[in-house]
Amino acid sequence: MESEIDIQKILDDAVRDITKRLAGIDLERAPSSLLEEDDDIASLYTATTGSFQIKVVCHAQTRLLRYIAEKMARRPVEDSEMEEVYVKEYFNILCGHVISKINRLTNGSARIGIPEYYRGFYVVDDCPGGMLEVSYKSIAGNFQVEGRYPEKQ
């Protein structure tokens, strides 16, 4: 299993790069989660199959996800179903980049699953092993990404 620092950097690089490219947002690292209990939050989740097993979940304020969706759509997005389409693709691209880099590091061939969207704070099943968490803030809202993986891979 590659060092936590490598995986965390891969996650951080991909989150910032893809968020900037798709939505023009500069995410700033926050020392810990800025998501409050009463925030209006949604979660995006996927898990990989194959040579490297990791579960990735992102929790974000819905106003940030709405902003990302509208930037991707290049127009206001009133329909929550369409908003979900855009943010799932955003997450799909982000995770694709993460897994691609992990595959290069590990010489593996892991694949990501189709992303799932949940209203509220989605809690990933406990998986004995490592956990990474990276938190961000931006003018459009706050965001947190977690990666959970078995130790030995």
């Binding site: 490219r21 799909n92 694709g96 694949r111």
Partner: protein, 124 residues
């Protein structure tokens, strides 16, 4: 009508994005399928000049869908589009007969270049 493009991607965002990028170009999006099984039927219906094919799809994946299309239409021109940017994917794409590969998020210039290249190679 310009050269006809069919988009296969489970996300409608990619269909809209490609349509947006190809607006006022020599290419026109004439068909869309959100899954691999539908792609084969859609191809038969719209007979595109080129297909952009996502890899991660519900049901059969983009590689299988491409192979199915090429079985019936061996001259089909398929460009694989994916966020999975690693050697294995590109190798597989070449093996199944794809004519090009684009990484998500796609950029307009690279999309147009990949589409043009497919027809340049045909005319060479």
């Amino acid at each position: 009508m310009g050269k006809k493009v069919m988009v296969v991607d489970d996300s409608k965002f990619m269909y809209e994005e490609i349509k947006f990028f190809l607006n006022k170009s020599e290419f026109e999006v004439v068909g869309y399928s959100k899954d691999g099984e539908g792609a084969v039927a859609c191809y038969d219906q719209c007979m595109p000049d080129v297909v952009t094919m996502d890899i991660v799809l519900p049901g059969i994946d983009g590689f299988e869908a491409s192979a199915e299309i090429l079985k019936v239409h061996p001259d089909a021109k398929i460009i694989v589009v994916s966020s999975l940017a690693y050697d294995d994917t590109m190798t597989r794409a070449t093996e199944i007969g794809a004519k090009g590969f684009l990484f998500k998020p796609i950029e307009k210039a690279l999309l147009l270049e990949a589409l043009s290249k497919v027809f340049e190679e045909e005319n060479a």
